[in-house]
Symmetry: C2
Subunit: 145 residues, 2 copies
DNA sequence: AACATTTATATCGTGTACGATATAAATACT
DNA sequence: AGTATTTATATCGTACACGATATAAATGTT
C-alpha cells in the first residue's frame, strides 16, 4: 500500500514554511509599531467591525480563548483595546478600539503596503493560490477539526 | 494610493489558517505516538538522511537553534534521538535515530496515510497549490528574511 | 422555582518560535 | 604564532497556540 506520498509530506511542509515566512515578514514590518502578527490580525478584524465580543474575534480568527485572551490582555496594556462587560450578557465582554488604534490604521496599512505588497511575488499567482487555500480551509471547516 | 489590498490581507490570513489547520490535523494523528508536528518534521528529515548535524536539520526545516534545540532535547528524552559530538568539528553534534525511531517509521506513515491522505481534499489541486507555495518560499529565500 | 446543561471567559501546563546574548571551537588574517 | 572573525551550539525572554480545567452567567427542563 502506498505510504504517505511525497506530495503530502511536501504540502504540509511547504505550508508550514510559507506561513512561517509570511509571519516573519509581517513581524518585521509591524515591529516599529510594537505589534505582533496575531495582534495585527485582531486589529484587522476590529478595523472592519468594532465592538466585538471575545468569542466573535475568536471565531473570525479561528483562535481559542486560551490563545486569544493573552493577546487581548497585551493589546489592552498597549492602550489599543478597551474591554467592557456586555450589558445583554454579563459573561461576555465587548472589545473596542481606542482612539490610538483607530488613528494608526492608515500608517500601519501604509507600512504593510510598502514592505509587503511591494514584494512583487505577491502577484505571482496569488489568485490561484488564494482559491486553493480557501478551498483547503473550507474543507477543514467541514471536518470539525 | 492603494491601501493594503484585500487580497494581501486575505492571503496572509488564509495561509495562517491553512497552516494552523494542517498542524492541528497532524497533531491529532501523531498524538498516539506522543509526537508533535515539529517533532515529526525532524523525523521526516532524519528518515530521509540519518546522522545530520543540528545546523543541517535547522537548514532543512528553516528553524533556528533557539527553536530546534528544545525540540531535539525532548526527542532525546523520548528515546528517539541520540546526540554525539562530531569528530571533525567539536562544536557540532551529530543527531542519529534510535532503533525505536527507525522501527516506528512504517506505523507513523501508515497513520498519516489513513487520517491525512484519505482526506480527499488533498487531491483537489494540490499540484497547483504546491507549485505556488514553492514559488512563494523560493521568493522568500531570496529575501534574506 | 429548582436543577441540569450550555455558554463566555479565565487560567494553567506543555510545546513551539523568534531574536538576543553567551561560549567555545574553527578559520582567517597579519 | 597570535589575534580577529566566523561558526555551531546553548540559554534566555517574550509571545503565541492548543487542550484541559474552572467559574459564573444564561438557558433549558421538569
Amino acid at each position: 500500500m502506498a505510504l504517505p506520498s511525497k506530495l503530502d509530506q511536501q504540502l504540509c511542509f511547504e505550508l508550514y514554511k510559507a506561513s512561517s515566512n509570511f509571519t516573519k515578514l509581517y513581524a518585521r514590518t509591524l515591529e516599529p509599531f510594537n505589534l505582533t502578527f496575531p495582534q495585527y490580525l485582531v486589529l484587522l478584524v476590529l478595523w472592519e467591525e468594532d465592538h466585538l465580543l471575545t468569542k466573535d474575534i475568536g471565531n473570525r480568527l479561528g483562535l481559542g480563548i486560551g490563545t486569544l485572551n493573552p493577546i487581548i490582555s497585551r493589546m489592552i496594556a498597549q492602550g489599543r483595546l478597551i474591554k467592557r462587560q456586555s450589558d445583554e450578557d454579563k459573561r461576555a465582554y465587548v472589545l473596542s478600539l481606542t482612539q490610538k488604534a483607530q488613528e494608526e490604521k492608515e500608517a500601519i496599512e501604509q507600512a504593510i503596503y510598502d514592505k509587503v505588497i511591494n514584494c512583487n511575488f505577491i502577484d505571482m499567482s496569488a489568485i490561484t493560490l488564494m482559491k486553493n487555500l480557501k478551498q483547503l480551509n473550507l474543507a477543514f471547516s467541514d471536518m470539525d477539526l
